[in-house]
């Protein structure tokens, strides 16, 4: 049993597949995530793959401060990713809404909507930082590191009603 267990853990550690979701970001974080795939950073060495379908993913990478219009899609995608899954908040936007805080069309930060496990700070974070963040997420995924307590009880309806942080 424990042999099987450690095999599964190793497999999870060595094969994290990402689904990237842009929740109203400025593209800065998104192009840095794409840059991670390219020759200089080449995350395929670590078994990381950017998947097209949320059904195939283990890690959801969210960038952007979560606009009203992406809220519903965000929740759908979160539900579609099969367990076990980890959420990475990419950049300052999903962490704090960045300079978009106070905007009437922004309902973030992200932890109000879905539980966030790893934050990658930066505007945008460098590809190295993104890879490090994914490594943290992988540690949670395979159970090496316990999942952090949710910072918020996700209260979606609330976030909608107040129209973001005020």
């Amino acid at each position: 049993m424990s042999l099987l267990d450690s095999l599964v853990r190793t497999a999870r550690r060595r094969s994290p597949w990402l689904f990237h979701l842009n929740a109203g970001s400025c593209n800065g974080c998104d192009i840095e995530l794409v840059a991670c795939l390219t020759p200089r950073y080449d995350v395929e060495q670590l078994g990381i793959r950017l998947e097209a379908s949320p059904r195939h993913a283990d890690i959801i990478v969210v960038s952007g401060p979560v606009t009203r219009t992406t809220l519903e899609a965000l929740q759908t995608v979160y539900a579609q990713v099969p367990d076990p899954k980890v959420v990475v908040a990419l950049g300052s936007c999903p962490a704090s809404c960045n300079m978009f805080a106070g905007s009437p069309t922004v309902v973030g930060p992200l932890d109000r909507i879905i539980p966030v496990d790893v934050y990658v700070p930066g505007c945008p974070p460098r590809p190295d930082a993104i890879v490090a963040g994914i490594a943290d997420a992988v540690a949670i995924l395979c159970g090496d590191v316990p999942r952090p307590e949710p910072t918020h009880v996700p209260v979606v309806a609330d976030a909608c009603a107040t129209g973001g942080l005020s």
Binding site: V8, A11, S15, P39, Q80
Partner: protein
């Protein structure tokens, strides 16, 4: 004796015990070559294996009963039939039974794509549906040259057994037919330039878009086995070493298969993806042209 032989070829060589690692190795090799061609380092050696285990260990999404059943059975059928096809490969030509029966082998190989088409439709996702219909169109298109080429070989050799064909087919026919056959492999394996059925940028993951965890793992498994079946088919046709000692045959079989993977990977890395209509046209004109010329040569020489 034949039963034991049959079981061995299904379960040991060239069947499951050999084909699984071989399939994973070929998938890894393709990804690695692709990465090296792009100036990257590429995935570690055990990557396809870990991908498979991880997918198996994911929690399956709960689905309506019939749909869930079909979405499990179809990839399973693809795995089983491809494994059956591999077992028929005549690495040991005198094994008797159905071993090396070309008709049975080809129909078993066809079950995989058929399951993928059905699997795309039952997943009830729009993109799965589009992927499935593309898969269906492509299956029709490449089967024209694929079958003609095989028929040319059969006609030239006057035998329906793979081993017979491998021994007796005339070389001009064989070369032409093999070119046509090799050109068909990228379609089945979703490789460039004929990868329209899994065009990630257009239709997500094609027919497997809705498949998750263990069900996706089965598709990946079927895919790995298809690598072995198709390269093995070409390998056993390309080099007639049936009268050599069995270690020689095994080595040649494996070496040719791997060489084929290398060639296909380089071709895939240096091309763009053709559109569905362009792919279909290519197979109906160029592919079939080559296959037909093989057939003509076969009849002329008779």
């Amino acid at each position: 004796m034949t039963v034991v032989r049959g079981l061995i070829s299904l379960l040991v060589f060239p069947g499951a015990l050999f084909a699984l690692p071989a399939g994973w190795f070929m998938m890894w090799l393709q990804r690695k070559i692709n990465a090296r061609a792009q100036g990257r380092i590429g995935p570690p050696f055990f990557q396809p294996f870990f991908d498979f285990v991880k997918l198996l260990a994911k929690e399956p999404v709960v689905r309506p009963r019939l749909q869930g059943f079909l979405m499990t059975v179809l990839p399973l059928a693809a795995v089983a039939s491809t494994l059956g096809a591999i077992a028929l490969l005549p690495v040991f030509p005198k094994a008797g039974g159905f071993s090396g029966d070309l008709v049975l082998l080809v129909s078993l190989i066809e079950v995989g794509p058929l399951c993928a088409v059905l699997g795309g439709f039952v997943s009830r996702s729009l993109y799965g549906g589009i992927g499935a219909s593309r898969e269906a169109v492509l299956t029709l298109a490449y089967n024209v040259p694929f079958l003609i080429a095989l028929f040319a070989l059969v006609a030239s050799a006057g035998s329906f057994s793979l081993a017979g064909v491998a021994l007796a087919a005339a070389w001009p026919v064989r070369v032409l037919a093999l070119i046509a056959l090799v050109a068909c492999i990228p379609v089945k394996l979703h490789l460039n330039p004929f990868s329209a059925a899994s065009a990630e940028q257009e239709i997500y993951a094609g027919s497997t878009t809705e498949y998750d965890g263990p069900r996706l793992a089965l598709w990946e498994l079927a895919h790995a086995l298809e690598w072995v079946a198709l390269t093995g088919l070409v390998a056993s046709l390309a080099f007639p070493v049936a009268d050599a000692a069995w270690p020689v045959r095994v080595v040649v079989f494996v070496a040719v298969s791997v060489a084929l993977v290398v060639v296909l990977s380089f071709a895939a890395a240096s091309t763009a993806r053709l559109k569905l209509a362009q792919t279909a046209r290519w197979f109906l004109l160029c592919g079939s042209g080559i296959a037909l010329s093989a057939l003509v040569v076969a009849f002329v020489r008779l």
